[in-house]
Amino acid sequence: MFKMTSNIMRNLVVKKSTRRYPYEVREPFDQVRGELVNDIDRCIFCGTCAVKCPSQCIEVDKQTYKWNYDPFACVYCGVCVDICPAKSLFQKTQYRKPVGERLTISMQGKPRKKAKDKEAAKAKEVPAAEPGGEPPPDESPSAPEE
């Protein structure tokens, strides 16, 4: 009985152990792997994320510069973020809010000029001025076409 009384007195003064959730949200931790975002302007459409993804929720179309992502198949493991060579993928610290319908996130990127291509373009201009210059270096097959 005495033990019970002390417990009751303690419970009167301690803080509640629950939160009024939708109105009060705890601050997320710094390193949480939340919503996956692609900064499409930095994306080079290499397709590494689509290959490495364990749940195969990412599709990359190298020809049309499309990046498709199914957030409901994603397991938020963060493998794609770790391996992204252009560092265009990152994860927010907030989780995705629940929605009523399934959706696929589709992002359309612009063909991006690589530094190598810019040099190639310059090299193309140079032979016009002085013929007999070196031919421009071959473009790699994965390089975006203008």
């Binding site: 152990s17 490495k52 364990p54 963060g78």
Partner: protein, 360 residues
């Protein structure tokens, strides 16, 4: 006397997962038990054919919903052994830290569910309240709450700094204090003892003979724990298993309760002795896994075994997983006969059944 067959499960208020037990009952006493499994088979082992050996880490983490770190740890150890990768010492200690955090949260979850199985719902709430702090630690240090995917072939993905580890230790102090406050209720309360002492007794010889593992075996007085083999950094931490001799539900809950506190102690020792340096070895130059390995680790529920076979290709040839609940079902069938029907939920839960684990 007339016999009646009563189905227990696959859907039962006390069971979190579907297991079906056909109970043959004479009056109120159980005479025979026949289990039926196969309600949540997902075919995860077969996925090794289409996922490469790095992607399989995320697949094996989903074998068990509660102890993801330990499944991934066992798998990674097997692949590392085949590829000849040496894991950096800091990564080994961090693996121990996260394994033990998962053991604490799994045991707290079980202690809560066990309290709920005999109708002590406020104790259930108290254990889960404490568990929430462990989930926060997981989220802060690894990025996710339950399926943390922190293990990779060659080490771990996260490297907590000194400040984060200090914060972790202060949180653990709070957790330890709160668990100790619940000790008198869980282990000395009259009503709790009435429902657990002397129920589902398993003798030491019988447990050993039937191949019981984990807390079920240790509660029967057999001091066997896979952590004694010294995998990861357990060899450096002077680990000693927690043993009880009662062999009943009370002893099993006591083993798990004491293991929670022992795990907190292990984390403290691991953090104090944490070496500096890299946390991830380079594996790209090692090629693909080739050969066969058998690896054992200690899950919260007992010994977990992984058999891996590689042919030097990106996909593994065979992944075979034997989970602890599978080993603990035969002892359960010996515990139940002779008991009253009303004790079945408590005794069934006392082996900590993880059915999605068992059926993979």
């Amino acid at each position: 006397m007339r016999k009646t067959v009563i189905p227990f499960g696959p859907q039962h208020p006390v069971l979190p997962e579907p297991i079906h037990l056909k109970l043959t009952v004479e009056d109120e006493r159980i005479t025979e038990v026949i289990p039926a499994l196969g309600y949540v088979h997902r075919g995860l082992e077969r996925l090794a054919d289409v996922r490469d050996f790095h992607q399989m880490i995320q697949v094996v983490e989903r074998v068990c919903g509660i102890c993801s770190v330990i499944h991934a740890l066992c798998y990674c150890q097997g692949v590392e052994e085949m590829m000849g990768v040496e894991v950096p010492p800091r990564a080994k200690f961090l693996r121990v830290m996260w394994s033990e955090l998962h053991r604490i949260q799994s045991h707290l979850l079980w202690l809560g569910l066990f309290a709920d199985s005999f109708g002590f719902e406020s104790l259930f709430m108290q254990f889960w309240r404490v568990r929430e702090r462990i989930m926060d630690i997981s989220e802060a240090t690894t990025g996710n709450r339950v399926i943390v995917s922190v293990n990779v072939v060659g080490g771990v993905r996260r490297n907590p700094d000194a400040e984060q580890l200090r914060w972790l230790l202060t949180q653990l102090d709070w957790v330890e204090e709160e668990i100790q406050r619940l000790e008198t209720t869980m282990l000395e309360d009259y009503t709790v003892k009435k429902r657990t002492v002397g129920k589902g007794v398993l003798t030491g010889e019988k447990a050993y003979e039937l191949g019981a593992v984990g807390p079920v075996l240790r509660a029967s007085g057999v001091a066997q724990d896979t952590r004694q083999t010294g995998y990861a950094a357990y060899g450096d931490l002077h680990f000693e298993p927690v043993v009880e001799t009662g062999g009943d539900c009370y002893a099993r809950s006591k083993v798990r309760f004491r293991e929670t506190l022992a795990s907190i102690d292990l984390i403290r020792r691991a953090i104090n002795r944490l070496p500096d340096g890299e946390v991830r070895a380079k594996v790209k130059s090692k090629g693909n896994p080739q050969g066969e390995t058998v690896n054992r680790v200690e899950q919260p529920r007992g010994e977990l075994l992984y058999y891996l076979k590689g042919k030097g290709e990106k996909n593994l040839d065979r992944v075979r997983i034997r989970t602890p609940t599978f080993a603990n079902i035969p002892p359960l069938l010996v515990m139940l006969p002779g008991l009253y029907l009303s004790d079945v939920p408590v005794v069934t839960l006392s082996i900590d059944p993880c059915i999605s684990c068992t059926e993979r």
